[in-house]
């Protein structure tokens, strides 16, 4: 056992309202510079949709992540080691700026300075790359926002194309059937990151203390293999400085015990962050599991933070007491391990992402049908009866189970259904508690099927709907001082003043 600590995350998709506050919080702090305008370290996609960059999930095109060779060993889908050196002059799988979009601003000055004339002055779009006017804007951030049934976007979602039958695809495009949800994405700070492995220089690394994956700006040489190697397209190339950049999980905030800005600002309060203890010895084995076993194998790496053996192992690796204590009250541990409600996004990429999603149980929508007000219109063929809405409709959801399974369980329908059964159980139980219009025996059956007790339902409800700031974000300050002092003689706490920081004493701009 090689027990390490990892800052891990849960996003509860049923709660995301698609407001993009998270994206803006991140952009204002980190990517508001030349060369980074097009980057969204945090972005929120409408699903079904093509996403950002366009169709990023299509690894036949982008070649991100890992695959197993015929002998079951892991290899990068992008290329082998020699391939990295021979492709270094031209990376055949690199997304170009057009796969994201060309960033622009507007010529606002013209609104004030335009000479008097017959027409209203306009503010034309100006490219932030070339400075030229752009006459047609063909793509932008969230260009497919809310276009759930679109023939252009939803219909070309790689999951729709891959996992749905012709009929199901047809249904998704039907106006009356339109359905969508939001998928906020940041770097997953994976246990087996493709970006780290693909970097020829070795400029990318995972921090031992908290598992945050970072790109050394001093060591990056613009070989841009990480952009391809990350299957989530969460490393980006700064065209101005010639360096790759990615989400740093706001580590300067984390180190002082604050949640990252996107978590802190999340309006829907969908985000949870906490420590988990995992067994680093098992990483490779887990990443090599067969497709349908991947989620369970990854979850098995996350250890019980109360197990004395695990605690002793953590101590051996220098994991501090405050970190172990945080892991014991981690909201992430509860969602992922205790309740089994949260799943990794696209586990089949085999990077073992440490951001987990509680899938959306898609809404109970009301509609008028035959003059009747029905609360179950969101779920086809599930008629309401006098006792109240039928919430027990997992297999009739508008977005087929196979779509969700393609996102969260590498196509394992059973596993996906199980998670939904749990969510249905909580929903039915709470409805019965608070409104009392469900059938008693159906609620009991739902609980049995979900293997949940009423107590479980209450706890899930509490952490889902009523959590406080402190319950959602359980991050100990990163014990930096302790990590530096350790067994060594004590340090003057001011010794790093003005010497550490983010590591730049020169402006991070191109100079040659």
């Amino acid at each position: 056992m090689d027990i390490r600590a990892q800052v891990s995350m849960v996003f509860h998709l049923d709660k995301c309202i698609g407001c993009h506050t998270c994206s803006i919080a991140c952009k204002n702090i980190w990517t508001d510079r030349q060369g980074t305008e097009y980057m969204w370290w945090n972005n929120v996609e409408t699903k079904p949709g093509t996403g950002y960059p366009t169709q990023w999930e299509d690894q036949e095109k982008y070649k991100g992540g890992w695959e197993r060779d015929s002998r079951g060993r892991l290899k990068l889908k992008l290329q082998g080691r020699a391939g990295a050196l021979t492709n270094i002059f031209y990376n055949p799988s690199l997304p170009t700026l057009d796969d994201y979009y060309e960033p622009w601003t507007y010529d606002y000055k013209n609104l004030f300075d335009a000479p008097e004339g017959d027409d209203q002055p306009t503010a034309r779009a100006v490219s932030l790359v070339t400075g030229d006017f752009m006459d047609t804007l063909e793509a932008g951030p969230n260009w497919d926002d809310d276009l759930g049934g679109s023939e252009v976007y939803a219909a070309n979602d790689p999951n729709i194309l891959k996992a749905l039958t012709e009929n199901e695809q047809q249904a998704v495009r039907t106006l009356e059937q339109t359905v969508f949800f939001y998928l906020p994405r940041i770097c997953n700070h994976c246990l087996n990151p493709g970006c780290v492995a693909a970097c020829p220089t070795g400029a990318i690394y995972k921090r031992g203390e908290d598992g945050i994956v970072l790109i050394s700006q001093n060591r990056c040489r613009a070989w841009r293999m990480c952009v391809s190697g990350c299957p989530y397209k969460k490393t980006y190339f700064n065209w101005s400085t010639g360096k790759s950049e990615k989400c740093i999980l706001c580590y300067p905030r984390l180190e002082s015990g604050q949640p990252p800005a996107c978590f802190h600002s999340c309006v829907g309060r969908i985000r949870y962050i906490g420590m988990v203890l995992y067994d680093a010895d098992g990483i490779e084995q887990a990443a090599r599991s067969n497709d349908h076993g991947l989620v369970d194998a990854q979850k098995a790496l996350i250890m019980d933070p109360f197990d004395p053996e695990v605690i002793a192992g953590a101590k051996r690796n220098g994991v501090g007491d405050s970190v172990v204590a945080a892991a014991q009250v981690s909201p992430v541990y509860k969602f992922v391990k205790t309740w089994g409600l949260a799943l990794p996004l696209h586990p089949e990429f085999r990077t073992l992402p440490m951001l987990f999603y509680v899938p959306p149980l898609l809404p109970v929508i009301a509609a008028i049908r035959d003059g009747q007000y029905e609360t179950t219109a969101g779920m086809e063929s599930a008629p309401a009866d006098e006792t109240g809405p039928n919430l027990n409709t997992v297999d009739q959801a508008r977005l087929p189970l196979s779509y969700m399974a393609s996102l969260f369980t590498a196509g394992n329908l059973e596993q996906m259904r199980k998670v939904f059964h749990k969510m249905v159980a909580v929903r039915m139980y709470m409805r019965q508690e608070q409104v009392g219009d469900q059938k008693e025996e159906e609620v009991e059956e739902a609980l049995r099927r979900a293997e949940f007790t009423s107590e479980d339902c209450l706890r899930v409800f509490e952490l889902t709907s009523l959590p406080t700031f402190e319950e959602r974000f359980v991050v100990p300050p990163m014990e930096r001082e302790r990590a530096m002092d350790g067994e060594l003689p004590p340090l003057d706490p001011y010794s790093r003043k003005a010497a550490g920081g983010f590591g730049f004493r020169d402006a991070p701009a191109r100079r040659f």
């Binding site: 080691r81 780290v196 040489r221 952009v227 530096m484 020169d506």
Partner: protein, 240 residues
């Protein structure tokens, strides 16, 4: 005059390359990048970049082997002289055309144009000139693989051993001497341009472990710790 170009310039160029190169790396590590523009323009890049780099790598390799390991050169060149000369000629032509294509790309793609610095234009122009000179030299003064070993290589060795003897090459044709001149100019420009990227070719990717984990301070042996402990901290540790 010939001493200035054949002795002075080489020493100045190499001194600049090494001293400024090291100084720049020490004081401004961040600036070391190949500044790839592939994100901005992908289609024209393929033929230009791949062909150019493969051509120039092979050409430089031939130059270096002939200079540094003459016996090895004798074996490979002597074995297939005509084929080698022809191949070299083709390579230099391919390199020239590919570089011309890349330069044209920098002009024709607005996105790439705006990320091209003044130094980029200088370097790419000199390289283009150098490729043309190399091609012309190979074309007009045949069997360079032979006369290089008996004239240029001894001259370079005399420079390397601090016993400069320009006589080896001072009587050579103008084109050849110009090729020397531009070559050393490029070496002199190396630390002031993006040419620095060529010493960072990541050959160690062939054997480095895929995953990298760095600890602020390794809690136990075997776990990699951050290599750069700030100077002031190291000193404090020593003194206490």
């Amino acid at each position: 005059m010939s001493d200035v170009i054949l002795v002075g310039l080489p020493y100045i160029a190499v001194a600049l390359a090494i001293l400024v190169g090291v100084y720049r790396f020490k004081t401004d590590t961040f600036s070391h990048s190949s500044f790839s523009s592939q994100l901005l323009e992908n289609q024209k890049l393929f033929w230009g970049s791949a062909l150019w780099h493969y051509a120039i790598v092979l050409i430089l390799l031939a130059h270096f082997i002939a200079f540094l390991i003459p016996p090895l050169w004798g074996v490979i060149y002597g074995g297939a002289t005509v084929a080698f000369e022809a191949f070299g000629l083709i390579l230099s032509l391919v390199g020239f055309l590919a570089l011309g294509w890349l330069m044209m790309r920098r002009f024709s793609s607005r996105r790439v144009f705006v990320v091209t610095s003044r130094m980029d234009w200088v370097v790419v122009s000199l390289l283009l000139l150098q490729m043309a000179l190399g091609f012309l030299v190979a074309l007009s003064y045949r069997w360079g693989g032979q006369w290089f070993v008996s004239s240029t290589a001894p001259w370079l060795w005399s420079l390397a051993t601090l016993n400069p003897q320009a006589d080896y090459v001072s009587a050579m044709p103008f084109l050849v001497q110009l090729h020397f001149l531009v070559g050393f100019l490029l070496i002199a420009l190396y630390p002031f341009s993006r040419l620095v990227h060529l010493v960072f070719f990541p050959i160690h990717y062939l054997w480095r472990p895929y995953q990298r984990v760095i600890w602020n301070r390794a809690p136990r042996p075997g776990l990699g710790a951050a290599r750069s402990v700030p100077e002031d901290i190291r000193l404090r540790r020593l003194s206490s």
